[in-house]
Symmetry: C2
Subunit: 192 residues, 2 copies
């Protein structure tokens, strides 16, 4: 397993058919994931297309994550946590100022992803709503109101994704207070 | 009022402070809206940033629609229908093939938006999840399952949005069967 240190991020290539395992080694830690077609990074993971084709906002085992060009990018083949979010964007300087005005501003998952993805020719504006592994965002179906709650993930929980095309992946150990139950922990990952 | 004919779309400029009124003249008709910063079209409307800052997936009177750079783009100042969607992407050839395999394929809101936005230098890949005015997509908060139901909008229902920056707007009369209660009607709009 490779380790992503707290409040940091990486980018990596994932070939079609390879599997990416994302593990929460200590529990209650979110990992933001974004994905791009390695041959044309204008094709990018899309929460809206995924909600269209999977007909749910709560993705888990068996669901596929789709691109803005209506192609499946990743299939969830293992999911021990069963609680993830695909509604909210990576934390960034502006979200720190907005939600934590009394705390130091951090560049967040957005800044970490932007730096990691730059060598692949991916601009900050091309970072979409992320698939937020282990993030716990209950939605009230009647009012639409949402809340960011501590993750329900336990130490060792993991999500395994199979690549359906050659991909560039961005992956973080999330930097925001509320998303991670108030403390910042590492994320482990492995390509197989 | 200007009219968008059934299953078509337009693009227009909206200056900061101007208001865009979108009216459903016959009822049960969806209109997909996308927005770009007129001075730099890499800044684009974002459902994820909007859900972040507004803390709800059900946007209505008083809510703001935010950009991928964390700036408010539009404020909802009138909302007589009180039911809209910001989860799903514009219908396109692939969604017609997927959901309506026995019906003729249409280029959908996606194709209509792509053509209308091209003169502004906006590529098809830059069309994000749209704000789907009058679209009725109930979500089961427990399971996450969603459904596309007929709009609840009545003839004459309207949504009025105030521009918070100079914008390029894409706007359609939606082309998909389920989203519009099975028939395709016009959408009226006015800039003031």
């Amino acid at each position: 397993m490779n380790r992503i240190e707290p409040r940091s991020g990486v980018a990596l290539k994932l070939a079609k058919g390879q599997k990416l395992t994302v593990c929460d080694p200590m529990g209650q830690q979110v990992s933001d994931l974004v994905a791009y077609n390695a041959d044309d990074v204008r094709e990018v993971i899309s929460n809206g297309r995924t909600f269209d084709y999977e007909e749910t906002i709560q993705l888990g085992w068996g669901n596929r994550l789709w691109s803005n060009r209506s192609n499946p990018m990743l299939t969830i083949v293992t999911d021990t946590a069963q609680r993830h979010d695909f509604l909210l964007t990576p934390c960034c300087e502006e979200t720190f100022r907005h939600f934590y005005p009394d705390k130091p501003v951090h560049r967040g998952c957005f800044g970490n992803l932007a730096e990691a993805l730059e060598p692949y020719g991916i601009e900050p504006e091309s970072i979409p709503t992320a698939f937020n592994i282990f993030m716990n965002v209950p939605v009230d179906g009647k009012s639409g109101l949402l809340a960011v709650k501590p993750p329900t993930s336990k130490p060792g929980d993991k999500l395994e994704l199979r690549a359906e095309m050659d991909l560039v992946i961005g992956l973080t150990a999330c930097s925001a207070y509320d998303s991670n139950g108030g403390s910042f922990k590492p994320i482990d990952y492995e390509v197989s």
